[in-house]
Amino acid sequence: MRMSYREALRLALREALQNDARVFLMGEDVGRYGGSYAVSKGLLEEFGPERIRDTPLSELGFVGAGVGAALGGLRPIVEVMTVNFSLLALDQIVNSAALLRHMSGGQCSVPLVLRMATGAGRQLGAQHSHSLENWYAHIPGIRVLAPATVADARGMLAPALADPDPVVIFEHAQLYNLEDELPDDWRCDIARAAVRRAGAQASVFAYGGCLPKALQAAEELAAQGVEVEVVDLRVLRPLDIDTVAASVRRTHRAVVVDEGWRSGSLAAELIARIVETCFYELDAPPARVCSEEVPIPYAKHLEEAALPQVPKIVAAVKELLNV
């Protein structure tokens, strides 16, 4: 069946709400409005206001209430409009959700799922466009996911809810309208990265909104006779270094594409891991394509220039291969 990334997310939410009475969705405008990205449209009518719970603009309060509700035996799915707004709730995510199990000596778990939109590309300006996945991926105690395909949009929620610990899911704002065929087996292993395209000459690692760009770059490179493997990281914490290293061992070259800023980025972490685990497999220094170190500008041409784009990925691969 063909569907959009948005519809796949909604299908997963509906299934979770149907299958488990402990599951509820909470966030700003998830109910009457239908979700700021229309993901939860129609769910209020189906499940009622107790389980599709509109909140005031109190990110700290309702994310923390989600943590408390998880402690109290429920399986909350909390939606935060964008990763930029999640900074208002960072205290409850980092100081409560991620720490409670450890600080209590293992007495409790926090089975909370946090969903939020991330990323640029819609001319929304600096306060709605950032990619701070790496901030969350830095924190022990939480799992960080980034669905980049319709199948993963459909398949990641159920295992995230089954995880007894907090899971943060980043939905790239550019992907909501992405359409694709939903495969018969859309189930997702939220411990593993996924090889999206085979190719022998270099490995391109990407996640979230950069995956379609990496795949497009692979197409263009193939047309020029260069075959690259594309790996969708999709689990940003804990990183699946086994899949990454296996790919590098096949291709001996690595390019990491990351919409985060270069300094302190996930790309930096991934390259460090590659160097640590397969330094002697490398035929060239690893390369990365990150966002320029500037707040995301409003003007379209500047925004595009700030972000990883297909030509930059193509150029990075060719430079690595010296072609």
Partner: protein, 337 residues
């Protein structure tokens, strides 16, 4: 050693004597903690509750065994009176694996989830959203339970207070917000941190019932919190109670206490909750010095046993360092309804 007659078993005592005995347990435990801190046996931050014992004692006695409690980093007394063993608390202070948080928490993170004691939170205001969520979970699961959330007046300047009390009032959740107003947020006096120093007026703006009690008078605290708990339990939505109190010791062991007048501290000490209650009970003919000393000796003996337990308890092996960051596969997931 003072000669004492054997006191009655605690459960058979009248309420006032139980309140007195529990205040003495907190006081003697914390005095010993201060001493052990000086001796280097307890490290990190240690926030003593000395002077404020009437608040936790009156409030914890007003709760049912099944109610939730969310507390702050000054929570030794609350944990003790919710039934966390003094030995487990002391072992936690020592950082031992036998501690109530396996030595991972320390003084500021005492937990006992089986007793529905959810910490021990060292972020000012950090517990308030959790309390709202616990109450929401009870509501959605049809459980009639009160969540009592303790915080200091300093937390009322945090956004977390406003967001949490608004959510609780909006959704009519069974949370009792319990502010222990000891007049100083670390070193900052109430009037220097709040434009509105009438804390009940501040809370009332969220359309919740408000209560105020003399936090140095344990019977007043018990009566007031009992009324507030009853109203919350009967479905009256959240409520707010202010307990007006004072800490006799510095904020923490690192605090030179330069921001308060010595005379002010002395004045409040005249109203010490243990001294006040025992004097009242003696005047009422319900307590004599011998009985008081017996209660005190009982508390001292419990402290001595707890310290001995903590001293001999083993350290957690360093090989276990990475334990309890994530829930192990196969462990029961998540919270308890």
């Amino acid at each position: 050693m003072t000669r004492t007659r054997k006191p009655r078993a605690s459960a058979e005592r009248p309420l006032e004597l139980r309140l007195l005995a529990d205040m003495l347990r907190i006081r003697r435990m914390e005095e010993k903690c201060a001493e052990l801190y000086g001796a280097g046996r307890i490290r990190g931050f240690l926030h003593l509750y000395i002077g404020e014992e009437a608040c936790a004692t009156g409030a914890m006695h007003a709760l049912a065994a099944d109610d939730n409690v969310v507390a702050t980093y000054r929570e030794h007394g609350h944990a003790l009176l919710r039934g966390v063993g003094m030995d487990a608390i002391m072992a936690e202070m020592f950082g031992k694996a036998a501690g109530c948080s396996r030595g991972r928490g320390g003084s500021m993170h005492l937990f006992d989830v089986a007793r529905r004691f959810y910490g021990g939170n060292a972020i000012v205001g950090g517990g308030l959203p959790l309390a709202v969520g616990l109450a929401l979970a009870d509501r959605l699961q049809g459980v009639r339970r009160v969540t009592l959330c303790v915080f200091g007046e300093g937390a009322m300047a945090e956004g977390a207070f406003h967001e949490s009390i608004n959510l609780a009032a909006l959704w009519q959740l069974p949370v009792l917000f319990c502010c222990e107003n000891n007049l100083y947020a670390m070193g900052t006096a109430l009037a220097r941190s709040e434009s509105q120093t009438d804390l009940c007026a501040k809370a009332a703006s969220y359309r919740v019932a408000t209560f105020r009690a003399d936090g140095m008078d344990v019977r007043a605290v018990f009566d007031t919190v009992s009324r507030a708990v009853r109203q919350v339990r009967e479905g009256g939505g959240p409520a707010f109670v202010e307990l007006q109190t004072y800490r006799f010791r510095a904020h923490s062991m690192f605090d030179p206490d330069l921001y308060r007048d010595k005379a002010e501290i002395e004045e409040w000490k005249q109203r010490g909750p243990i001294h006040s209650l025992s004097a009242q009970l003696k005047a009422e003919g319900r307590l004599d010095e011998e009985a008081f000393l017996a209660l005190d000796a009982e508390a001292e003996a419990e402290v001595a046993a707890a310290v001995a337990f903590a001293e001999q308890a083993p350290w957690e092996p360093v090989a276990d360092l990475l334990k309890d960051v994530h829930t192990p596969a196969g462990a029961a997931a998540g919270g308890t309804p």
